[in-house]
């Protein structure tokens, strides 16, 4: 019998920068900010040298090159080695300048023109457009290409900027917190930066007191207070009280940042195991020591039933758990314990607000009976970015926590499935009621006729009873596809919140397609007017571009698929509504 063997994969099998040499590492050890790190505090398996060799890369930017863009999701932080960068202050650069697609709804005439402007061959592109507009500085390494500003003096004249010089660290909060970048930064002079991927940054923060203090302090100063102030439970607090809450709040992360990569692999092998692959955050029956607030990602809430665990609901960004238990303990109820187990779905970032702080700042407010001072078990999430027209709701969730406890196995089955398949991430998932769908493919044809003759989804996907989630972009609440796009071509539209790709700046590196856990991004070869592949003159390989559903952002009809369905079988839905409303959605 033949035995297939392979050496066990190691953490640093895939270094961040393939060109990093020992000489580079030695040079970095001489940089003052790195010199200040106490290398002896690191364990031998994760040495500082190892991190510098495998978790960082040296990036060079020419004048005008954009380093990070406001609104992008990044997985790395930057340390300026030399040169000078400009941070664009509010209101920031317009989207087109950052390499983003400008969405303009077609008028009736432009919509009608599609009838005769439709090309016979799919995926036609006029390459003249790329030459005129793209603004992409290509690099031999696809992931290292940059979008650059074409007229730096004009940008400096028309925008307020701040300068970042050698030694400045930036981007660490977005990298660790999986939150969008808050400002755009471009090179004011030719610059050299040290890019540290999140894994390396996490280790440095973990083992070096100085960096930890710096990062945590910045987080508390820049982001935490504002975040807490925006939540429904702390919005009543004044500046000083908010500061006290922020100072005492503990920052915790569970799971792996790039869960989507391992999840995709496990899915391929049909090995996704709810219990094994999800780190437990707190266990049912444990003592409640603080309020848990989700800052990013998702967490599963489950209870023991029979010999297994039943998912009763899940928490998304802005939601919290634990207030009810702490409140009951505060009111003198004996032996109060957590009623549920909370586990991380992939990656989740929590803020743990200690019980003492909650007792001091929240419960007296609830007791006072002032407006908004109602006792709630779990708060309504902040408005999801990908959900246009969603009403901002205040107060309680549509269903009380007790309703979730009371649900039968059958009632909770859809939720169990949606959580297991991570569909809860979807804000505009394509849900097809198979009891109504006559498989006429009108949706597919409508999509093709509005997108270069090639549909942007496949009418096929995972099914649960009579529901199918088709392979169409779900415009996720946590869009992991956006992490690592070198040109920012895939981005979240500021108007409407959908995740879209700018074809002009997409370099076909496939980072987004490989990251999407649901395989909803497809790479296509682009064609000329005669339907022939457009080739790269250097290697004669076809030029490829990433394509996906853009919710027909420029069409006056909205998503053509739903508009074209004659049986109302296809809907674009926020999974939160499907799994939580407890109501049937349009006969579903």
């Amino acid at each position: 019998m033949t035995i297939t063997t392979q050496s066990r994969p190691q953490r640093w099998d895939q270094p961040f920068g393939s060109e990093m040499t020992d000489a580079d590492v030695e040079r970095l050890l001489g940089v003052p900010e790195i010199q200040a790190i106490e290398a002896d505090k690191f364990p031998s398996g994760i040495s500082l040298k190892g991190i510098l060799r495998n978790d960082v890369r040296i990036m060079r930017y020419k004048v005008g090159d954009i380093v990070i863009r406001e609104g992008d999701y990044g997985n790395s932080a930057f340390l300026v080695l030399n040169g000078s960068l400009r941070v664009v202050l509010a209101p920031g650069l317009p989207g087109e300048m950052l390499g983003r697609r400008k969405i303009k709804k077609k008028n009736i005439w432009q919509a009608l023109k599609q009838l005769w402007n439709q090309k016979k061959n799919p995926e036609f592109r006029d390459i003249q457009n790329y030459n005129n507009k793209s603004g992409v500085r290509e690099s031999a390494v696809l992931g290292s290409s940059h979008v650059f500003l074409q007229d730096v003096p004009a940008v400096l004249d028309s925008n307020k900027t701040a300068v970042l010089e050698g030694g400045a660290l930036f981007g660490e909060l977005a990298a660790l917190g999986r939150t969008p970048r808050t400002a755009s930064i471009f090179a004011g002079k030719d610059s050299e930066l040290l890019e540290i991927r999140w894994q390396g940054l996490r280790e440095i923060r973990k083992y070096d007191e100085g960096w930890r203090r710096l990062i945590d302090q910045r987080y508390r100063q820049n982001a935490l207070k504002a975040h807490l102030g925006a939540t429904s439970i702390f919005s009543h607090l004044d500046e000083n009280d908010l500061q006290e809450v922020a100072d005492k709040t503990v920052f915790e992360t569970y799971g792996t940042f790039d869960w989507h990569l391992s999840y995709k692999q496990l899915q391929g092998q049909e090995r996704v195991d709810g219990k094994k692959d999800e780190p437990e955050i707190c266990l049912q029956g444990a003592y409640p020591d603080g309020l848990l607030m989700v800052r990013a990602g998702f967490a599963r809430i489950s209870v023991e039933r029979g010999n297994g665990r039943q998912t009763i609901t899940y928490l998304g960004a802005g939601e919290y758990y634990g207030a009810d238990e702490i409140y009951r303990a505060w009111k003198g109820e004996p032996d109060v314990a957590l009623k549920v187990t909370i586990s991380a779905l992939g990656y989740v970032e929590f803020l743990r607000v200690p019980s003492k702080i909650i007792e001091k700042h929240l419960f007296p407010y609830w007791e006072s009976g002032r407006p908004g001072g109602t006792r709630v078990v779990t708060a309504e999430p902040e408005q999801r970015k990908g959900t246009p027209d969603r009403k901002a709701e205040n107060g309680q969730m549509s269903g009380r926590m007790q309703d979730y406890f009371d649900q039968t196995f059958s009632e909770g089955a859809l939720q169990e499935w949606a959580v297991q398949e991570r569909f809860v991430n979807g804000t505009q998932a394509m849900l097809i009621n198979l009891d109504k769908c006559v498989r006429c493919d009108d949706c597919v044809r409508a999509c093709a006729s509005t997108h270069d003759g090639n549909p942007r989804f496949i009418r096929h996907g995972k099914t649960f009873q009579n529901l199918m989630v088709a392979n169409a972009c779900m415009h996720c609440a946590d869009p992991v596809c956006m992490i690592g796009c070198p040109t920012g071509a895939i981005h979240r539209s500021l108007t409407g919140g959908m995740v879209i790709i700018n074809d002009d700046t997409c370099i076909g590196c496939e980072t987004c397609a490989n990251s999407c856990p649901y395989s909803n991004i497809r790479m296509v070869s682009i064609n000329d007017e005669n339907g022939k592949n457009i080739l790269d003159p250097q290697n004669h390989k076809p030029i490829i571009k990433a394509t996906k559903c853009d919710l027909c952002a420029d069409q006056i009809t909205g998503p053509a698929c739903a508009f074209a369905c004659p049986h109302e079988a296809l809907k674009r839905v926020d999974f939160r509504d499907v799994t939580r409303s407890g109501e049937s959605i349009g006969g579903y």
Binding site: K106, A111, L434, C437, A446, Q555
Partner: protein, 267 residues
């Protein structure tokens, strides 16, 4: 469901209006056929432009599901208007009879399509396997190749050709292409019965190792049976339009000719 009642109520009101109008005209010894014919033409025109609307998904011409409701209700309205206009179920004259045959053909094929679209999706969901119609030949090919691989392996590993012989003589027929199409169209279970019978007759001639391979063939046959079911039902869901649309086009052409003749020779 609530919405369709709005359409039905409007259709009834429209019909009553035309009916009363024609009665008034008849009482005053005028030709009522112009009114009923004009209304019928209008309704048939509305029915026909649904197809055009489907080709223009990028224009804000009302969502398709509303058009579909309108099309369904207007189809029945057209039938009643036709009877009002012709005043008989079966008219005299060759041209009128051809037109009537085409009109009834369109209506009946439409009703058939409506019934299929209400019943078949639920039947397809019930079998718990989803396939894309265009991929069915490829899927069936894969299953056949898989079955043949199992048979070859069985022969190689067990040294017996009993299962291979049975596959060659009997089971191969089933795996070759979609089977039991007519039976599947009527929701029958003949395929299931056939598989069970043809697999069970062989069991007493097999040893334990061979039975393991037969089980694998049985699982593949069950999957193939489900795909066949999809093939039969999806074919019907797609092909009924190949009757309905040409009939409707012919009705439209003959109706326009009918109008021209009336205009030229009657008015």
């Amino acid at each position: 469901m609530k919405r369709i009642w709005g359409y039905i109520a409007t259709a009834i009101l429209f019909f009553l209006l035309i009916w009363v109008w024609t009665l008034q005209l008849e009482r005053s010894l005028n030709y009522s056929e112009f009114v009923s014919g004009g209304a019928l033409f209008f309704v048939i025109f509305v029915l026909c432009i649904f197809n055009l609307r489907k080709r223009l998904p990028f224009l804000p011409l009302w969502p398709a599901h509303k058009w579909f409701l309108l099309h369904t209700v207007a189809g029945f309205l057209a039938l009643f208007l036709f009877w009002l206009h012709a005043d008989v179920l079966w008219p005299n004259g060759l041209y009128s009879q051809i037109l009537t045959v085409l009109f009834y053909g369109t209506t009946l094929s439409g009703i058939l399509g409506l019934v299929l679209e209400k019943i078949y999706p639920k039947l397809l969901t019930r079998i718990d396997l989803e396939c894309i119609y265009e991929r069915i030949p490829r899927d069936l090919g894969e299953i056949r190749r898989e079955a043949e691989k199992v048979i070859l392996e069985c022969t190689e590993k067990t040294g017996s050709d009993t299962l291979a012989q049975h596959y060659y003589e009997t089971l191969g027929w089933f795996f070759r292409r979609p089977r039991f199409i007519i039976n599947n169209i009527f929701g029958g279970q003949n395929a299931q019965t056939w598989i069970i019978r043809k697999c069970s007759v062989l069991e007493r001639f097999l040893n334990d190792a061979e039975r393991g391979y037969l089980d694998q063939i049985y699982v593949l046959a069950e999957t193939k049976m489900k795909i066949d079911f999809h093939y039969a039902l999806q074919t019907m869901l797609k092909k009924w339009l190949l009757v309905h649309v040409p009939f409707a086009a012919a009705v439209m052409v003959m109706m326009i000719w009918h109008l021209i003749v009336i205009q030229v020779f009657f008015i």
